[in-house]
Amino acid sequence: MKRALIAVLTVLVGVGIVVGVGTFNSWNQREPAPITAKPAGTIQTPQGEMPHATLELDVYPNSSSTVPPPRTESRFQANQLSGQPFYHPSTSIKVPANTAITITFTQYDGGGQIYNPYFAEVHGSMDGTMKVNGKTVSKIDQNEVGHTFTVHDYPESNEPEFFLSVPLKMNKANAKTDKQGYPVDPQTIEVTFITGDPGKYVWNCEFPCGDYYQEFGGPMQTRGWMAGTFEVVA
């Protein structure tokens, strides 16, 4: 009997460890609370009049007393990512389906040359253009890119395809900064695009703004910082 008991105990302890470790880590790695685009009437698009929604996203070069960093999984990760850039207030984005969405980015970070000039152009917007500081352009100088906002597909063939890439212009190195070190006059980029049917997508930055090899590590590979989810909801 003692033998059977020990065997059963082994199974229970094993299952308990798996469930415990799994649940803790899953909870610890939950995506940030999503932000949803706010309805804003209607707008004229090449496809006629469509409902309109807006969203605001900021990109900060580092956290400060006024702008807290995104949540991290552990003290170790918080240490690793201290002083790294991130999107604010969240990287989980929800937008309504079959709507024209306007996202306004406020970009506080510097930048440099992007590896692939394709991403210095805007792709997937309503009319192939974006507004940079009020001016309508279709691309920016590939040496002056700060970050990008690139949305691409889940590996799911049932959902509609969607691709959006917006380059975010950099602030010059000698720009005037405030007490926290952010430029007082940041770059503003506005892009309008049309969503299709509901689907799930991911987005990440395509500008090397992180750590390690090719500066594509660190925050570039951390959800909640320079990568996240993008959901088109019904």
Binding site: Y115, N116, Y118, H123, T150, H152, D153, Y154, P155, S157, E161, F163, S165, V202, N204, E206, Y213, Q214, F216, M220, Q221, T222, R223, A227
Partner: protein, 286 residues
């Protein structure tokens, strides 16, 4: 102790042209286990042979092969399965027969020694060696011939500067980077897209590279695969022969969003392809 028959003696006197080895085979087949194992081998062979057809079903889940390369690959999988069936059937037949007929003892008591002390059997060993070598050589020869064929079909040995820039063919410079694929068509004014457009029935050459880490350019239904290496350009090619929307997946772990590094491959008619290129701002210039 030993109650097993020693088998009938050889056929006497009657002059015969039958070679002596046939006597040995017939005598061997008279043993109680011989027919069982041979029968089981044949039965299992019949049961396993359909695997050759079944294995193609998941490979065709998104439709029939979309290029000759993929067709060759599926044919090879079919043939290799059929060719492996006899040896697998035989091994499994011995396992099954052993479990059915030769199980004898249970429990804690050490059994008496009753099995025949066969340390070797020249005929068995020679037959196995010959068969496995023949099988291996068949696989090698088939594989080498097929590899040469597919290399020919994918123009994999031709470097970028020697690729014909003629009317028929299309050159695509594929750039993989974390975690998006981009495609540039140098013959079409350098038009760059994030979706791969290919013309049907025309040879396509790919020059594949990466901007950062190793990726893998896998056109699933077309049977094309080559690593995208940073600092190097690798080449492959294909002639798509089916219309449709197919998948390009990254098949080499490349970081956090490796799973999402997918895009679609649109194989369209030749004229549709040219008009799509023109629409994107790149008429044919080369």
């Amino acid at each position: 102790m030993d109650t097993r028959p020693t088998g009938p003696p050889d056929e006497p006197e009657e002059p015969t042209n039958r070679p002596p080895s046939m006597h040995r085979v017939r005598n061997w087949l008279k043993r109680p286990y011989a027919k069982g194992i041979v029968g089981l081998t044949i039965l299992l062979g019949i049961l396993l042979a359909p695997m050759a057809w079944l294995i193609l079903i998941p490979m065709r889940v998104t439709g029939a092969p979309a290029s000759e390369i993929m067709g060759d690959i599926q044919e090879t999988v079919f043939v290799f399965t059929l060719v492996s069936v006899p040896i697998v059937a035989f091994v499994y037949a011995v396992l099954v027969y052993s479990l059915l007929k030769w199980r004898k003892y249970k429990g804690d008591k050490v059994p008496e020694d009753e099995s025949p002390a066969i340390r070797t059997n020249t005929i068995g060993v020679v037959m196995w060696t010959v068969m496995s070598s023949v099988l291996a050589f068949f696989l090698v020869v088939w594989g080498l011939i097929e590899l040469a064929q597919i290399t020919n079909n994918s123009y994999g040995t031709i470097s970028a500067d020697q690729q014909p820039g003629d009317e028929q063919s299309v050159i695509v410079n594929v750039t993989g980077q974390q975690w998006v694929w981009t495609f540039e068509y140098p013959q079409h004014d350098g038009v760059t897209t994030d979706v791969l457009y290919l013309p049907k029935d025309r040879p396509v050459y790919f020059n594949v590279t990466s901007k950062d880490v190793i990726h893998n350019f896998w056109l699933v239904e077309l049977g094309v695969k080559i690593d995208a290496n940073p600092g190097a350009i690798t080449q492959t090619g294909v002639t798509p022969n089916k219309l449709g929307s197919f998948n390009l997946r990254c098949a080499e772990l490349c970081g956090m969003h490796h799973a999402y590094m997918e895009t679609s491959v649109e194989v369209v008619e030749g004229e549709t392809f040219e008009s799509v290129m023109r629409e994107m701002g790149g008429g044919r210039t080369a």
